[in-house]
Symmetry: C2
Subunit: 320 residues, 2 copies
Amino acid sequence: MASEFDLIARHFTWPSPGALLAVGDDAALLSPAAGAALAVSTDLLVEGTHFLAGTDPRRLGHKCLAVNLSDLAAMGARPRWFTLGLSLPAVDEAWLAAFAAGMRALAQAHGIELVGGDTTRGPLTIAITVIGEVPAGEALRRDGAQAGDEVWVSGELGEAACALLALQGRAGSRAAVFARGRERLEAPRPRVALGLALRGVASAAIDVSDGLCADLGHVLERSGVGARVRVDDLPRSDALAGCRDDPAVRAAVLGGGDDYELCFTAPASRHDRVLAAGAAAGVRVSAVGEIVAGRELVLLDGHGAVVRPPRAGYEHFSDG
Amino acid sequence: MASEFDLIARHFTWPSPGALLAVGDDAALLSPAAGAALAVSTDLLVEGTHFLAGTDPRRLGHKCLAVNLSDLAAMGARPRWFTLGLSLPAVDEAWLAAFAAGMRALAQAHGIELVGGDTTRGPLTIAITVIGEVPAGEALRRDGAQAGDEVWVSGELGEAACALLALQGRAGSRAAVFARGRERLEAPRPRVALGLALRGVASAAIDVSDGLCADLGHVLERSGVGARVRVDDLPRSDALAGCRDDPAVRAAVLGGGDDYELCFTAPASRHDRVLAAGAAAGVRVSAVGEIVAGRELVLLDGHGAVVRPPRAGYEHFSDG
């Protein structure tokens, strides 16, 4: 059986010209750009909690890095380096090769380099820490939203949550439609380019991982403001737009999670600059509401009537 | 039941004056010192693989951070920030409080700040990424050893491995002696001050986590050299010095692992500077051999006869 060191060397030693010293010492040595602040984020993904057993390893490798890149996107940070902690129940060369290939392809697409990590035996768990760079004053934080700002969402919401229902056999007659979102669930596209384009434009940002209502709620809490959101304006894929009154679709769009889109705010005077940022990044951006005084998130239907929010976003320790 | 967010806030939001932005946004924002290189290391600790079920949570919190600080020590880096990924099978407030307290006490002692992380439900797993700073040209790497250098070891070796034998009921009549090392096993002291004092003095360094022979072997491989080590000169605690001819003790000293001492090399001309660095850091340092041409690690007894090395260092995927 291959040793731990051989395994790491074979699948996870990639070129890393942007590091002074990468895999193979007690620590990586990195040289940040002068004057840049570092954006650092860690996510832990556990089989059975964050992904289903038997998930395609190539997509899993992609997704584990994607959810971390999504955090950098939400800060407006440029991805630079990451470390990988990998706990595996057994050595499976084919699985490792596919997992590494999926991760590597996404890493190369975003110019982020694997510079260190740790591999061990244990339940399937993936721990990634990403490091990006951003001029300190231009970082997109959660605490900058102000009354009068518009609320924006990138891409489309709800597809991943609907696809999960289909995979779990809980989609009923909508299974075929919901299953179309499987790629969104298993291989989300982090909005890194949009985050960079929103530097100096957005006043606050967060990535939508736990569901729009929960994540926008974090922005409101940190910024000390409220918001009104027009539910009918929330962006849906063509497939889901065809069943917009379906309660499962509405719940997925408002609170489903795993979208990895950006929810952000910007002064109304920058409306056109936001549209230009979306165009530059090649990502649809939709104005869906406005920031108001107070602390409350109010959802409105097409007639201006208040819509009841779905149950709070997914919290790992509150649904057990 | 408390939500994930409440749990994190309650136990892991500590003051972090050295970060621009810490826990609570999509990523932490950090401002490295001008001109410093970053030393970054990740370790993943899994219950049953790296520590026994039922380990005292305060000591576990200490140890998880200590093994990461030991990597920074081996680079000569000053600890600055860390992130914590924590997977827990269930919410246990008392356990969390003790775990956090053990981690926090060690963090404060070394001036390292918790700036982010992720908490989730799953098998007990702890993923820590540490970030330190070091002037790029002064980092202690594995690849700088040269023929003629002396080989040094800090502190004492073998206590942790002997204590593990005692805890596992495999120490026989030596149980009482071996059990004295339990604190070394469960609450190792990372040699951060020594690593800093060895900047500009040591030519190469590594921390002894997998056992002296395995870890010194990494230095030899990366540096393209061999070494002769005098087994009788390897530092042992007073307790273990009393049973130095015991095969279990010899195996523990040479290959037991979990010591978290530093093994380093330095030109013989700097012998006194190494002693001064040890004195400044308050850590015993012992010259135990020399670097030679070739690629081989040769162990010698007190009569100059060659000693057979123990089985290779602990590798998680090779002993299953």
